[in-house]
Structures are given as C-alpha cells and as structure tokens.
Amino acid sequence: MSALPDAVEGAGTEAGSGSRRLADVIFRVREFGIIAVLLVFVAITSAIQPRFIDVQNIKFVFFNAVLFALLALGETMVVLTRNIDLSVSSVLGLSAYLSAHLFSQVHGVPIVVVFLAGLVIGLACGVVNGAITAVARVPSLVVTLATLYIFRALDVIIVGGGMVVASTLPNSFLAITTSSVGAVPYLAIVIAAVVLAGAFYLRSFRSGRELYAIGSNPAAATLAGIPTGKRIFSAFVISGGIAGIAGVLWAATYGTIDSTAGYGYELTVVAAVVVGGVNIFGGSGTVTGAALGALLLATINQALYVLGISSFWDLAIDGFLIVVAISLDHWISVRLTSALRKRSLQHAT
C-alpha cells in the first residue's frame, strides 16, 4: 500500500506490476496529450493558413525548437532529482562566445574541437553547480541563481564590448544548423536521436531510474543505498555539458554573439520542461515529454506568426499555456493516484 505513490511517481515496484501497467498507459497518454495538442494546433492553423505546413515554415519551427529541446533534456535530468538548474542560460552564453571566438583565434581550427571546447566549458560550469549543491548540500535554486549571475558576469568580463560576427565563422560551421533533408534539418534529427537516447537511459539504466527515485523521496533514496549526492552531481554536470553544446549550436544558429547570448532563457527552458509534463518537484516526467513541450512552444509561436496575429500576443499565450499545462498535469496525477489506490484495494480484497 505505502509503496503505491512511488509506483505512481515512476519508481516502479514489483508488487505493483498491475498498477504499473496502468501507470505506463497513462504516462504514454500524457505524452500523447502533448502530441494531440500539437496536431490540433497544426491542423487548425494549416486549415486557416495552408502556408503553415510548407517546407520553409516547418524548417523554421524546427530551427527554433531544437536548441530548446536540447536544453530541456539537460534541465529535465536535474528537475527529476528535485533540483533546478537556473544557470543554463549563462552557461550557454559563456560557451557560445568562447567557442565561436576560437575560429578567429586559431586559424583553421576543426569544428569538432570547437564543439569539444563548448562541451568542456559547459562541463566545468556543471561541476561547479553540482559540487556546491551535492557536497555542501545547499539548495540548488540558490546555488544556480548565484552561478547564473557569476557565469554571466564572467561572460561579460571576457567579452567586454566585443562580439563574434558571422563573417569570422566558417561556412561549414554555419551550415550545421541550416542544412536539411526536405523540411527537417539534420540537426533536428541528431537532437531527436540524442533525446531518445536520454529517454532510453532514464528508462532502462539503473542510474537513470535512481534519478526518479531521488526525486520521489530523497531520504528514502539515500536509505535504499542510492548514492544520492553522486547522482545529483552527475545530473548537474550533464545539464552543464548540454548547455555548453547548446552554446556552440547557438553560435552556429545566430552567427553574431555578444555577451547577451541566451540572456533570460533560464525560465523559458524550465517552462518547456514543465509544459512537457515533468513534475517541478521531481520524480516524474520524461525527456521526450520535455522535448515535445519545447516543440509545442516553438510551433505555437510560429503559428501565431503565420496567422498574422501580432507577435505581441506570443508571450501571453505562452504564459497561458504554461498555466494550463501545469493545471492539467496536476489534475491527471491526482486522478491517477486515486485510480491506483482504488485498483490496489480491489486487488487486496
């Protein structure tokens, strides 16, 4: 009986295999929910304005969604453990400038090296966040709020008044985000693969499941022998590394990078994660959901643009959607818990 809420929150117990199947179905339905909203939105928009589903437009949607989806992947890992990483936007900014700056400093530097540089910068930032959170056991909201400022300030000190302009970047680098097969950019395919790999890891690996366990009940997870600190540390390092890579991709996407790259993105990423059905207090949610949440937000913004609704409505509709998504998600999980409880009572009698 008492293990039931854990089953709901994704820990999964042997005793609750029947309820797990039910939970599985509903979890799948949850992601289907986002897909359904997405499809309805696309259908309505394209019925009014057929231009919405032409190649160029779909490309735009993906173009806007991929970076978001990638950041949402890292953020989800952290949020699952009942922590939060607000510093992603600053890590992105730092990595975007430093990695793109390599092109003008080292002549003919291979693109792989630039990506590695971005990754290392991101990992280093993630290590700082993770170490302070996991070792000093300080609330991550405070830690990453502090590092949000510190990393951005470092960025500002390093960049000064300078900026990287697109003309200093090689064409092959800029082509990373623009080349596509049909309407789908190669980058979107790669990132979809990365997200699926992340989903597989969280679903099937022990350390992945342990992230859910930590988020469901940190104290119980520690008592069960899960190296809580180590897992939380790794989640922050992964999130940092992903933000670092996202920074390099940001540079390739926009070409012009000054010290404001990614400024103010932190809460938007958290919003995408929350819209994607990840519980802000950890323990439940999937990275595919979070990535779909990012895609949904990008689609809606593009739909408004195509429908000729003033872009001044974007923010309000985003905000409204986030509130609706949270309410819906809460409603579903309350329903699910009571359904599971009823079911197990039937089994017991």
Partner: protein, 366 residues
C-alpha cells in the same frame, strides 16, 4: 526488481556510505535547520552587519563621492527604490515557503497600464487606483492557483510571469508613452521634501512600508502564522491557521506591491514601456536570500533582508564609483548569494569534511 538493483550489486561496486553517517546526514530540512541553530558558527545577520560596515568603509575610502547625498540619492535611492519595495512582499512569500516569480511582470503590466490609460485620457488618480487593483487581481490569481488548485508556486509563477509580461505587451504593444504630467514625474526623480535631498519618494515609501511589514511580520499573529506555515505547513494547519487564506493574501500583497513599484518606475523614467523592469525578479529574490531568508521558508528576518538590501545597493554603488567593470557587478551578487548559504552551514560543512577525512584515514590503515 527495484530492491535487487538498488541494494545488490551497488554495494559491491560503489563504496556505499556506511549506514551511520548516511542516516545522520540525511538531507532532511528539519534536521538541517535544527543543526543550523545549534551549530551555526556565525549568525548571518551579524555577518551582514560586518559586510555592510566593510562596504561603507571601502566605498568611503576609494571614492570621495560615496557618502555624498548626491550619490546616496541618485545612485542608491533612485536606482533601487522599486527593487527595495518588491523585496518586502517577496520576503513574506518566501518565508511562507512559496515563491513569486511574477512580481516583476506585474510591475511591467502596471507600467504599461499607466501608459495606456493615460493615453486614453483617464485622470491620473483614477489610473493609480485602477492599476493597484489590477495588481491585486494578478496576485489573487497566483494565490488561487497555488492554494485552491494546489499547484507548485515555482511552476505557476513561471507561467504567470510570462502571462503578465505578455498581457503588458498586448496592452501597450510597441508604443512608448512619455507625455506624463510633470506633477507626477517629479515624484519619480525629485527628493522627498524635508530629507536633506537624501531620500527619493520610492525610498520613503520603502521605509514606511518596511516598518509596517516589520511590525506585521514580527509582532502580529498574522506575521507569526506566515513563518509557521513556512516552517511546517501541516502543523500550522492543525494549529488552526487558515493556510490557504494567508497564502492567498500574501500573493495579493505581492501583486499590490508590484503595482506600486510599477507606478513609481513609470514616473521615475517618465516612460511607460511594455518591458519595464521585467528582469528585476531574480535580483529581488537574490536580495531576499542574501538577507538570510531560507528558500524553504520558515526562517529569516526582515532586518536581515534590509541589511542584505543595503549591502547589495552599497556594494553596487561603491563598485560603480571605483570604475570597476560595471557589467561585472553581478559577480559580486552571485558571490554574496553563495556565501549567504555557505557561511551559516560552515559548522556543519567542516564537521562533514572531518568525518570524510577520518573515513579515508581509517580505510587507509586497515
């Protein structure tokens, strides 16, 4: 399946912590807070007083302008007045164990509304009443979502932060309204009469409000119930505190203060724009946390927050005068924020480090 994977191989391959220290150092907030009280090396408020003295000394020694009334008026009071006002309700909300990320968006919405209604020839007093009312409604909406729907405030207010900022954009669009009557804009930029050119209107508002908030928080049963809720919501409920009502009220106060800050912000810049002050929310939270308020609620004082605010403003203004890279000021904010959580835990941290070292020494000799 789960017990096997969790306990079986993991104990073999990973050096699982011995049960003693592991249970002793469970990351439970009740035990942490109790430890803080017992073992905290330095009370954070005392540290803040030292920091404040150091800030004033550094400022006075490095620049002759630091202690002049011009600097205090235009670089401290004017610049940080609205931020200061918003830290007051934020302190209460965080003390109650919740958070309000939407307060700066309410500021932006209020500023937009002031501009929009003025453009439509409403009389200014009516505009102010109206805008304050809108702030209350925005706050009440947050409160209802959090208390009646039972949604996590961190997520809800990320949503309403975007929503209110979005409504501000809808209200005003790309327009920038600047033709406010000088009778009101002087409120924004002139010193309050009788304060020796020292305090701005926003600073006077802040001082009056801080006294009211301080009395309410520390000397009324309502204020104590706020802290009780943050400390232990269930216990507060059983003690007969109307938890939901108190929290809703706090969010409404938060909205009201956001609106007031929005009106003052508009008058100070004599400009209504849809993105006025939207980035202020994280600095507001940073100042509150800097003041030693626990992010989990239940712990913290308004005096601490005011000290934190003074350190924050003082340092920023001192560094500005010393030609420190102005854009890098935030590194100081971040650093202080880290210190504010690390120093009160210093005793616990060193104890844990010693235990860690001991464990390795033991395993090394055996």
């Amino acid at each position: 399946m789960r017990p096997e994977t969790a306990l079986g191989p993991s104990e073999v391959e990973a050096p699982a912590p011995p049960p003693g220290p592991a249970t002793a150092s469970l990351p439970s907030r009740e035990t942490t807070s109790a430890r803080d009280r017992a073992r905290g090396l330095v009370r954070w408020e005392s540290a803040l007083v030292i920091l404040l003295v150091a800030t004033v000394l550094i400022g006075a020694l490095t620049s002759r302008q630091f202690l002049t009334s011009t600097n205090i008026f235009s670089n401290v009071c004017l610049l940080y007045g609205e931020l200061a006002i918003m830290t007051l309700p934020m302190t209460l909300v965080i003390l109650a164990g919740e958070i309000d990320l939407s307060i700066a968006s309410i500021l932006a919405l209020s500023s937009s509304l002031v501009g929009y209604l003025w453009e439509n020839h409403w009389p200014m007093p009516l505009i102010m009443v109206c805008v304050l009312g809108v702030g209350l409604v925005c706050g009440a909406f947050n409160g209802i979502l959090v208390t009646r729907f039972g949604l996590p405030s961190l997520a809800v207010t990320i949503g309403t932060k975007t929503l209110y900022a979005g409504i501000a954009e809808i209200v005003l669009g790309p327009a920038i309204i600047t033709n406010f009557p000088s009778g009101y804009t002087t409120i924004g930029v002139n010193p309050f009469p009788g304060t020796h050119q020292l305090l701005s209107y926003s600073a006077v508002f802040f001082i009056v409000l801080a006294v009211i908030f301080g009395i309410v928080l520390h000397a009324t049963s309502f204020g104590r119930s706020v802290v009780a809720i943050g400390w232990n919501k269930e216990a507060a409920q059983f003690a007969g505190i109307r938890v939901k009502r108190v929290k809703t009220l706090l969010y409404m106060v938060s909205g009201l203060m956001g609106s007031l800050a929005g009106i003052l912000y508009t008058f100070r810049l004599s400009t209504a724009e849809s993105d006025n002050g939207v980035d202020l929310v994280l600095p507001v939270i940073a100042v509150v946390l800097l003041g030693g308020v626990s992010i989990f609620g239940g712990k913290g004082t308004l005096v601490g927050v005011i000290l934190g605010l003074l350190v924050y403003c003082g340092l920023q203004s001192a560094l500005l005068l010393t030609n420190f890279n102005a854009n890098a000021l935030e590194i100081v904010t971040g650093g202080l924020l880290l210190l504010s959580v690390l120093i009160p835990n210093a005793g616990e941290l060193t104890a844990r480090a010693r235990r860690f070292m001991n464990r390795y020494r033991v395993s090394g000799t055996s």
